[in-house]
């Protein structure tokens, strides 16, 4: 039960949107698909779902071509609210479930139970456009639960949600994973991915630049991060002389260093002790996903507008 994406290429007119995208997602895994806006995340998802055809490459699930599986296998939550804005919440939940063959009566009962669980049962008869973004996202999620897909693809599920709703959705995702479902979500919020994902792939300009288990990807640079705190404020100035070290964060609590592959981090600890410093904290860790991302792709520009969804703009 593995989702294998193999060598996807897709061209929109002049622009090569996907240039040989390959990765695999294992069952019972939360998979993070990371990239800047316009990197190719949505296009890849649309191809996996069969909403779009790839120029080259293939998608398979459990060894069989993705399109040979029933539509109910695939669940999808688009980034923007995928709801009928002028339709009451309960009506559209029943409608979507009916499209996947769920009997209307059963769908209604289950939908009400889910809305109850997400504490929005009182909104069942309200039109979707009157709901907050967070509540709309919950309704979308309930629609997916009624469908009960084996693979759930989500495009930026956490964008615009408050911390309470983020936590609620996260726990729901983990519950699904524990039930053996495969979850793939795209995001450019790297802390979310680090906290939630078993595996990740980083995509940039239509190419996968890193992929694998979250731990392996974090270690893939060969560098390590060191967090060190000493009793005196200027006790670490000597580190600037070490060419293998770069100070990435100089904080009040601790200083964070990026240490190149050739240097043993213990050298830093020893150096500090030799200079008579009192070491309050010393921690060797893998770089964060953000560090890896910045190194592989460059800094994320949060102001970048979503351009990838615009096929027409690219054509």
């Amino acid at each position: 039960m593995t989702l294998v994406i193999d060598g996807l290429r897709k061209r929109f007119g002049e622009v090569l949107a996907l240039d040989g995208v390959s990765f695999a997602v294992h069952p019972g895994e939360v998979f993070g698909f990371l990239g800047a806006n316009g990197a190719g995340k949505t296009t890849t998802m649309r191809i996996v779902l069969g909403l779009m055809k790839a120029d080259e490459g293939s998608v398979s699930w459990n060894g069989e071509p993705a399109r040979s599986w029933p539509r109910r296998t695939w669940g999808y939550m688009p980034e923007e609210r995928g709801l009928y804005l002028r339709m009451p919440v309960i009506d559209q939940l029943v409608h979507f479930a009916a499209l996947y063959g769920v009997p209307r009566r059963k769908a209604r009962e289950e939908a009400l139970a889910w809305l109850e669980r997400f504490r929005i049962a009182d909104l069942a008869d309200r039109r979707a456009e009157t709901l907050s973004k967070g509540n709309q996202q919950k309704v979308q999620y309930v629609a997916t639960m009624l469908q009960d897909p084996d693979v759930l693809l989500m495009d930026e599920p956490f964008v615009g949600l408050d911390p309470v709703n983020v936590a609620l959705l996260k726990s729901a995702f983990l519950e699904l994973r524990d039930a053996g479902k495969t979850l793939v979500f795209s995001t450019h919020q790297l802390e979310q991915a680090e906290a939630l994902c078993d595996s990740v792939a980083i995509i940039d300009h239509g190419r996968i630049v890193a992929s694998g288990s979250t731990r392996d990807v974090r270690r893939s640079t060969g560098r390590q991060a060191v967090r060190i705190a000493t009793s005196s404020d200027d006790g670490l100035d000597w580190l600037a002389a070490l060419p293998e070290c770069t100070v990435t964060r100089r904080g009040r609590d601790y200083t964070e260093l990026r240490v190149a592959a050739g240097l043993d981090p213990q050298v830093i600890l020893r150096g500090a002790l030799d200079r008579g410093e009192e070491v309050l904290r010393f921690e060797v860790t893998d770089p964060s996903l953000e560090d890896v991302f910045v190194e592989r792709v460059g800094a994320l520009d949060p102001g970048e507008e979503a351009t990838l969804s615009a096929v027409g703009a690219r054509a």
Partner: protein, 441 residues
């Protein structure tokens, strides 16, 4: 899920969402009220006429002449027109009375006691001269009918002078036999009379307007709803569950069912009004109400043709309207996207209506040729069928072409739709559409 059940589910949503809106309920109610008013209009007009007959005064320079003139005038003004509903028991439209002098009569017209004053004077030549004093338009019905009556009076007066007896004069003025019939000797049925032919023209005219309204109104509605789904991105969720063709078909059938519902309400309202008209007439007008006939020329064949051409025309345009709507992503751009379809249907409608009204020759070769064009046939065939100008093979051929074009349109629309619904950003030009058609997604 199976194609049929997905189409049914989508059609069900499209239908319920629309018929539950306040605008649909209000719009349908207004349409039904409009139809009822039109159906009862003859009754209402008669009721108003009965209450307010037009009073006309007559004055003449010779004694006795005024009495004769009043009689002739009453006969001409109150003669049955042929197009109206025969109503022997009803009071006359015009009441004629004789007044002693012109000055008093003119004052009475000014103050509204009379609608008009007709004055007769014998000129030196011996001929009668007529003057009508009225505030009504000189080309109005009263003036026109009075002019007719004046001519009759003048002729009668000249015949009197020539010594023709009154009884012979009646025979002289008796109307001649006059018939209108088909030029083709093989064609004998239906028998043709002026009122019937006029009713048929009006029926075909009305049905053509109805088909055009359904195409334009509901076509735009479909295009709008496609764009609405696109702009809220719900399209992507739906497309994960259903194929573009299912979505397209469900939308067309659902909105088509809405159109049927609305027009069923109108037809039922109108039918009930027609059937009840006699009863209501009795109640309002008393025993003299009289029965009301169904419109002449409303044959089952014409109704069937209306249903078939209306349905096929709607399906053809609706699929293309949906495809056009799928090409744009903002409501503001919908009008531009559906412009070619609007122009095409308007052209067919204009030619069809002009032909049905007799403004252009419905038998002309180019009109017959155009009725074979699938996009124009729904607006043009009814006019020809209603007057019996369409040959059976012409009807069959136009239907075959219409069905064939519908199949092509479905294929084209599904292809455009499949790509268009995920197309965001600027409106694609003709070249992009062509590329989409050739290559698919």
């Amino acid at each position: 899920m199976s194609t049929a059940s997905n189409i049914a589910t989508i059609a069900r949503r499209e239908y319920l969402v629309r018929v539950r809106t306040r605008s649909f309920v209000l719009g349908t109610a207004l349409l039904v009220i409009g139809v009822l008013v039109i159906a009862f209009l003859p009754l209402i007009v008669r009721q108003l006429d009965r209450v307010n007959p037009t009073k006309i005064a007559v004055v003449a320079s010779e004694p006795g002449l005024a009495q004769t003139a009043a009689g002739t005038l009453s006969g001409v003004l109150n003669a049955p027109t042929g197009t109206g509903i025969p109503d022997p028991g009803a009071p006359p439209d015009f009441v004629i009375s004789v007044v002693p002098d012109v000055a008093a009569g003119r004052r009475a017209v000014v103050d509204g006691t009379y609608g008009a004053l007709l004055s007769l004077e014998r000129q030196a030549s011996g001929q009668l001269a007529f003057t009508l004093y009225t505030n009504e338009p000189s080309t109005g019905r009263t003036a026109a009918l009075t002019r007719q009556a004046a001519t009759a009076m003048a002729v009668a007066d000249r015949l009197d002078t020539l010594g023709v007896k009154a009884a012979d004069q009646t025979a002289l003025f008796a109307p001649a036999e006059f018939a209108v019939t088909w030029p083709d000797p093989a064609k004998t049925d239906p028998t043709r009379d002026v009122a019937g032919a006029m009713g048929q023209d009006m029926l075909a005219f009305g049905m053509t307007i109805l088909i055009f309204m359904i195409v334009i109104m509901y076509g735009n509605w479909i295009a709008m709803s496609v764009v609405e789904e696109k702009s809220s991105r719900v399209m992507e969720v739906v497309l994960n569950a259903a194929t573009p063709l299912q979505l397209l078909a469900g939308k067309v059938f659902g909105v088509g069912a809405v159109a049927c519902t609305q027009y069923a309400a109108v037809v039922l309202g109108g039918g009930a009004a027609l059937l009840l008209q006699g009863t209501v007439a009795q109640l309002v007008l008393g025993t003299g109400g009289g029965a009301v006939d169904l419109p002449q020329g409303l044959t089952p064949a014409l109704l069937l043709a209306f249903g078939v051409y209306g349905l096929l025309g709607f399906l053809l345009y609706a699929t293309l309207f949906a495809a056009a709507g799928s090409l744009v992503s903002r409501q503001e751009d919908v009008n531009a996207a559906v412009m070619p379809l609007t122009l095409l249907s308007t052209a067919g409608y204009m030619i069809g209506v002009y032909a049905a009204m007799g403004l252009i020759d419905i038998r002309a070769g180019w009109v017959v040729g155009l009725t074979m064009v699938p996009f124009l046939a729904p607006f043009m065939m009814l006019g020809r069928i209603s007057i019996g100008a369409a040959l059976p093979w012409e009807i069959v051929l136009s239907l075959v072409l219409l069905v064939a074009m519908l199949a092509v349109a479905l294929w084209v629309a599904a292809r455009i739709y499949a790509v268009g619904v995920l197309l965001y950003g600027s409106r694609p030009g003709a070249r992009v559409v062509w590329r989409l058609l050739r290559e698919g997604m």
